[in-house]
């Protein structure tokens, strides 16, 4: 089958892994045939013996295995991480930040963050509250225009966040949870349809917000100067160093147009007002 994520197309070959439900839920509404495949990926099982004892699953792209095998139950999470890897390891014509991207009023806010900052929970919350989900995992920025591309991918939620979002949005559609991965429990949230995604176009970045969730903290939201913003963004970039001058110029364009903020929050009420203000 083909998995079309908008910017990049994958062909998926698999050997009896039980990921049909998750695949159907997340990518079931995507046109099934693409005319050009960027990455041929596969989920494969190990040796004969390993199919019976402690079955595991391996991710493969073009006959290359970037990761160690994982337990078979983690197959869908491995596929999602593998697809992220393909993009991050091969895309050097566009700047990629480890970041979520949300859009409202045709203006994008980019949320670069280290793991554990609450980025994905924030992404899930706002993408189910009227914001358009451009990406949960990576901001893909076009050098010539500094516009950010939409990517058709789910939101990857971990541990307590899964129940938190399920409780807040009982209608939300989740893949079955993969228990005890190296990131803990993981489930993927479908936060938009292919039809919605196909109407998205590359979007101007109005602001870059560095989020930090902290239980019980007082809400703070303050602006960073552009130099500080610039240097913190590139710490979250996948390929800034490889892109050299092109990466620097892209960041320059971005810094000239966008404003930079840092925020600490314990709930989404005040944060929501601040974000709305940025895209007014």
């Amino acid at each position: 089958m083909h998995i079309n994520t908008g910017l990049y197309c994958f062909s998926l070959q698999r050997t009896h892994q039980n990921i049909d439900r998750a695949l159907q839920l997340i990518y079931g509404d995507v046109p099934t045939v693409s005319d050009f495949i960027d990455f041929p990926v596969a989920l494969t099982t190990g040796s004969m013996l390993r199919r019976v004892i402690k079955p595991h699953v391996m991710f493969e792209v073009n006959q290359y295995k970037p990761f160690m095998p994982l337990p078979a139950e983690h197959a869908f999470a491995l596929l999602e991480w593998g697809m992220n890897w393909c993009i991050a390891a091969h895309e050097f014509t566009r700047l990629i930040l480890h970041s979520a991207v949300l859009v409202k009023n045709n203006k994008a806010i980019v949320f670069p963050a280290m793991p554990g900052s609450g980025k994905s929970t924030l992404t899930a919350f706002f993408s189910l509250s009227g914001w358009q989900l451009y990406s949960d995992e990576m901001a893909i920025i076009e050098p010539s225009s500094a516009l950010v591309h939409p990517l058709y991918r789910p939101v990857c939620l971990k541990n307590n966040s899964i129940d938190l979002i399920k409780k807040h949005f009982p209608q939300a559609q989740f893949t079955p949870t993969c228990r005890d991965t190296q990131k803990g429990d993981v489930a993927h949230l479908k936060a938009l349809t292919w039809h919605e995604h196909s109407n998205f176009t590359p979007c101007e970045i109005a602001a870059v917000v560095f989020p930090q969730y902290k239980n019980g903290c007082e809400f703070s939201f303050y602006q960073l100067d552009k130099v500080e913003g610039f240097s913190r963004v590139i710490k979250n970039a996948f390929n800034y160093d490889v892109m050299g001058k092109l990466g620097f110029e892209t960041m320059g364009r971005l810094a000239n147009r966008a404003e930079f903020f840092e925020c600490q929050y314990a709930d989404y009420v005040e944060l929501s007002d601040c974000l709305d203000e940025l895209v007014r």
Binding site: F36, S47, F59, F67, M68, H90, T93, Q182
Partner: protein, 370 residues
């Protein structure tokens, strides 16, 4: 069913205007094969040279530009590391020769265009090896952690020490004191190669053109690992195209004779003719014909021709799969005397058993899933 032959591959790399007629599906497969063979950026530069990139589909151009950006950045990094290595070693008055990829990049020959390196290979004199290792360590380089078995393999039998790695930049340097394993009995008198070095404008010392080619040939035909064999064969083809002259062939033949690699030279020339349609030079026609006429060599040539085929499902046939296994065994056979080889194979078999049957990962280079 394979839809591609090695000849398709070679001819479209050397004459990229042929690729303009590919269907989108062929393009897709083409990119898969080249990426797998580490040749995407090399193809970009071939296409750039023949000014045909604009005739390619937009999706294809994007992958080529991406591969070029990656490779250009790597080339810049290599030049930086070369200056670092020179700075580190010059403090102790140690001379070092840059080999293989770094050599090609420093010489700026056709082979360097798009060449991806996995490490930087250097040669130092055996008497200065320990001092050089110390200097690297004093400058924050670390020896890559290897198993006890591998450590003694390197120190006792090999022509190089375990890889040196810079912890911040991730660069890997392979430091050699010979171009082939002393334990094999086939290691050349290394002074002969030292006599075939030259200094470039930037002060770097590299093997001269004939010695560079001979080293590339030794590396390809005296080895068991064929992962990058096709790329190495392309290196050989392009080196010859850049440097061939009467003097070049004369020096090369002499060096091959002195170091005992005449057969490998003949083998390389026959296979270059078969895989890249390159002419055997007039100066060597007799020698090459005599070599190729011997029945045992005919078999050997067939094995290597198929083993050099990139190991991609779109190209692999039962012949190339078998050939790679035979060449794998032969490569080991050349490297070690029988008693050492038996021991080596039993250790490696045990590790393979752990990995494939029990699923235990022993390869420390494979990263964990992110």
């Amino acid at each position: 069913m394979n839809r591609w032959t090695v000849d398709d591959l070679s001819q479209s790399i050397l004459f990229p205007q042929r690729a303009a007629h590919f269907s989108l599906e062929q393009w897709q497969e083409w990119l898969f094969m080249l990426r797998h063979a580490n040749l995407l950026a090399s193809f970009y530069w071939q296409a750039e040279k023949h000014q045909c990139i604009e005739s390619y589909p937009e999706q294809v151009q994007r992958h080529l530009f991406s591969a070029r950006n990656y490779q250009q950045r790597q080339q810049q990094q290599v030049l930086y590391e070369v200056s670092e290595i020179k700075r580190i070693l010059v403090a102790s008055g140690i001379e070092c020769v840059f080999l293989k990829g770094a050599n090609y990049i420093l010489r700026q020959c056709s082979t360097a265009k798009g060449r991806i390196l996995s490490d930087i290979d250097i040669l130092v004199k055996q008497g200065e090896l320990l001092e050089a290792e110390k200097m690297f360590k004093l400058n924050n380089w670390q020896l890559k952690k290897v198993s006890d078995y591998d450590e003694q393999y390197y120190r006792k039998w090999a022509h190089e020490i375990p890889p040196l790695r810079h912890p911040l930049r991730g660069t890997v340097v392979d430091m050699h004191h010979n171009l082939y394993l002393p334990i094999s009995g086939r290691a050349p008198k290394i002074e002969l190669f030292w006599q075939h070095t030259e200094q470039l404008d930037d002060g770097s010392i590299v093997l001269n053109a004939p010695a560079s080619l001979l080293h590339s040939i030794i590396h390809l035909f005296m080895n068991e690992d064929f992962t990058n064999a096709y790329r190495d064969m392309l290196d050989i083809h392009l080196l010859i195209a850049d440097y061939q002259s009467t003097d070049f062939w004369q020096n090369l033949t002499e060096l091959a004779k002195q170091t005992g690699f005449q057969d490998e030279l003949s083998m390389a020339l026959v296979l270059r003719a078969r895989l890249f349609r390159g002419d055997v030079p007039r100066e060597l026609t007799n020698e090459v014909q005599t070599f190729a006429a011997k029945p045992s060599n005919r078999l050997l040539l067939n094995v290597y021709q198929h083993a050099i085929t990139p190991n991609h499902t779109l190209l692999t046939t039962w012949r190339s799969a078998t050939a790679r296994s035979v060449a794998y065994v032969r490569g080991h056979w050349l490297k070690m005397p029988i008693h050492v080889l038996c021991k080596h194979f039993s250790v490696k078999l045990w590790l393979a058993f752990l990995q494939h049957i029990l699923g235990k990962q022993t390869d420390t280079q494979t990263s964990t899933a992110k």
